[in-house]
């Protein structure tokens, strides 16, 4: 996370590889399901032995025995529809919800976040020297319309993607944040509206950032969980 500040995001999880290293973020959408980015995995059928999600901590490298830390093995991976750049991870068991671990709402199908809505991203990724490398950071961003976004991105932004406005400073997600949430506060609820995906450059000043629009895939998520 470039810029931003230390913060709390109880639905943001840390994906750990076989060496226990953090490599991506994720969002807890059901007690046993995490939504993350396809970019985080080399294939839809990578052997998941040794991969875990860590929740309930603010630290990138929590000490063993840290109160609240939950480590759960990843049991299964389901790749999203073509072009979704999403993956659902089924955990070996449901996590325990508490003050440190919470679910985030999914948006209604095809819901479009109104421009100007205040949202935030969270992650333990690359800070590019903006500090607080070892704790979870959050950054506030405002949604802009795809139409406005396509001015800078020359029409490349798809309907299944959404944008937040470029800021003068360098603030935004970067490597290690992919898969994490773009959460927007709507009707007194935090809602998972976007998923952080790699942009051509991290936190480019003055450039809108592009996220996957979750509401286009809400039906797929419910279907996978149900089936």
């Amino acid at each position: 996370m470039v810029g931003g500040q230390p913060g709390n995001s109880p639905w943001t999880v840390s994906l750990r590889n076989r060496q226990g290293q953090h490599f991506c973020g994720g969002s807890l959408v059901k007690e046993q399901w995490v939504l993350t980015a396809r970019q985080c995995f080399s294939s839809c059928h990578v052997p998941l032995l040794g991969y875990e999600v860590w929740l309930g901590t603010l630290f990138q490298n929590p000490q063993p025995g840290e109160p609240g830390l939950q480590r759960v093995a990843v049991a299964k991976m389901v790749c999203g529809p073509s072009g979704s750049q999403l993956v659902l991870l089924k955990l070996e068991r449901p996590v325990t919800l508490n003050q440190r671990v919470a679910l985030i709402c999914l948006p209604p199908e095809r819901y479009v976040v109104p421009p100007g809505t205040k949202c935030e991203i969270a992650g333990w990724g690359e800070t590019r020297g903006t500090g607080n490398d070892t704790v979870l950071k959050v950054a506030s961003l405002n949604v802009i319309s795809n139409q406005e976004c396509n001015i800078k991105h020359r029409g490349r932004v798809k309907e299944s993607e959404m944008c937040t406005g470029g800021l003068l400073g360098s603030v935004g997600a970067c490597e290690g944040d992919y898969g994490g949430p773009l959460a927007c506060f709507t009707h007194n609820c935090w809602v998972l509206e976007g998923i952080i995906i790699p942009n051509r450059v991290c936190a480019r000043p003055g450039w809108p950032a592009i996220f996957m629009r979750v509401s286009v895939f809400t039906d797929w998520i419910h279907k996978v969980v149900r089936l």
């Binding site: 199908e109 490597e175 992919y178 009707h187 609820c189 998972l192 286009v216 089936l227």
Partner: protein, 465 residues
């Protein structure tokens, strides 16, 4: 620090059955500390060629036969592992092959070997014993002949002949940097014996075979699980952690068979990516591979000839998760180049549909990953929620792709892969089809109780200034 297990080759979750009921295997010895203790007991015994080790009961059963003995067969087992003496199961020889106990019985000239217990047509001085292993008519090297195992032949005009069994070093060559080397050399270039990958002594290490199933970390053979320049192993010498192995290279520096080269996207881990992206996802320019500043490293282009470490392009020479590079920024050693998009790994679409495909009536019956569809009227491998009777309007015929639930991502099916309940099909939207845009006026939003965040006291910002 040599482990007695070094003389054994393991088959996990496998039992060796003897098919003649009259033959009784050894009794189970319970409470054996571990497989090493079992190996310690079997190793010195001339009539012990293998053993079962039961991980849960810590039981050990010594066996006088191996999988190459007559009337035996391997069987999947949920309770034990099979350890067999390498000399009896390795198909190549170490040094001059004096220890070879395999079952080759043909000379290099194609002559069948004469049984060692026979003195005809070629008389000789050898008497088969447990020590010299002169069994049946198998090739052996009782006189430590430098040419390796040999035998008397059944041709009276050709007294004896070498069997031409390859040395383990020659039996498998190294392609590229040897990531897919699966040979049976268990010595380093200085002659030190390799430590078993499934042991953490004398050198603890992160490469547990169960976590690196794709790296073939069998027994104590030379391997390359970390993208080193060639196969290596931890050594049994406590003073010497790890060392390269001296293995012959295969012909030309060709790319490992399994890789396809890509230029504008990367597939899998991107080991075949050969594009020209040369900045990290964070926009930091990459350091040239042939430079050692600002970051010193071991990835010299000439040592990774088939990894194409040209200029400062993003590459994946060591099997990391994605293409990466050393960065030109002193404070940031390496970073992934995730800005390179992943290649679509779906099977090419075979047909198209309109809308969301609810009225698709074609006969495509394969998912986008190429998995065959399950019949809609079948109950396995997945119990369907939609059947031809429960959803007559959807025309759920045979195992054709359909869209009984109006899934917005198109026709789908239950799949024949037990691990994948359903998936979308090798279909795409028809070119003339314009879906309604979701960017029309936003819908009303109602949320259940979730997404609540309790701002943690330990995080609450102090009001005092």
């Amino acid at each position: 620090q040599r482990s007695p297990l070094n003389d054994f080759q393991v088959l996990r979750g496998t039992e060796l059955q003897h098919l003649r009921h009259a033959v009784v295997p050894g009794t189970w010895q319970e409470d054996v500390a571990d497989a090493e203790e079992c190996a310690r007991r079997c190793g010195p015994l001339l009539d012990c060629r293998a053993f079962h080790y039961n991980v849960s009961s810590r039981g050990c059963q010594l066996l006088p036969w191996t999988q190459h003995s007559p009337h035996t067969q391997l069987q999947r087992s949920g309770r034990c592992d099979l350890f067999q003496k390498k000399d009896y199961v390795r198909t190549c020889i170490m040094d001059n092959g004096a220890g070879y106990r395999g079952t080759v019985a043909m000379t290099v000239g194609g002559l069948p070997c004469q049984a060692w217990s026979h003195k005809f047509p070629n008389d000789h001085k050898y008497t088969p014993t447990l020590q010299n292993g002169l069994e049946e008519n198998f090739c052996r090297n009782p006189d430590r002949d430098p040419g390796g195992p040999w035998c008397y032949t059944t041709d009276p005009t050709e007294r004896f002949q070498s069997c031409g069994i390859k040395s383990c070093r020659e039996a498998a060559c190294v392609r590229c940097n040897g990531e897919d080397y699966r040979g049976a050399v268990d010595r380093t270039e200085s002659g030190r014996e390799c430590q078993r990958w499934d042991l953490q002594h004398p050198h603890p290490h992160p490469f547990q075979p169960s976590k690196f199933l794709d790296q073939g970390l069998d027994d104590n053979y030379c391997r390359n699980p970390d993208g080193s320049e060639r196969p290596w192993c931890y050594t049994t010498d406590p003073q010497h952690e790890r060392e390269f192995c001296d293995l012959p290279r295969c012909g030309s520096e060709t790319r490992p068979r399994h890789e396809a080269t890509t230029l504008n996207c990367f597939r899998g881990k991107g080991e075949g990516y050969r594009g020209t992206a040369n900045t990290t996802a964070a926009g930091v320019p990459c350091q040239r591979w042939d430079a050692q500043s600002p970051h010193q490293h071991r990835f010299a282009p000439e040592k990774y000839a088939c990894k194409d470490l040209r200029e400062n392009f993003c590459r994946n020479p060591d099997g990391s998760e994605a293409p990466w590079c050393f960065t030109s920024r002193p404070g940031m050693r390496v970073a992934f180049c995730y800005q390179i998009r992943r290649c679509a790994d779906d099977v090419r679409p075979e047909d198209c549909y309109h809308g969301v495909g609810e009225r698709y009536r074609g006969s495509v019956s394969k998912t986008r990953k190429g998995i065959p569809c399950q019949r809609w009227d079948a109950e396995t491998p997945h119990k369907p929620q939609f059947t031809p009777t429960s959803a007559p309007q959807a025309h759920l015929e045979e195992n054709f792709c359909r869209n009984p639930d109006g899934d917005s991502h198109g026709p789908w099916c239950y799949t024949m892969d037990p691990g994948t309940p359903f998936d979308y099909c090798t279909l795409q939207r028809c070119g003339d089809d314009r879906p309604s845009s979701i960017l029309d006026p936003p819908d009303q939003v109602l949320f259940e109780k979730c997404g609540k965040r309790v701002d943690r006291p330990d995080l609450k910002r102090s009001k005092l200034r």
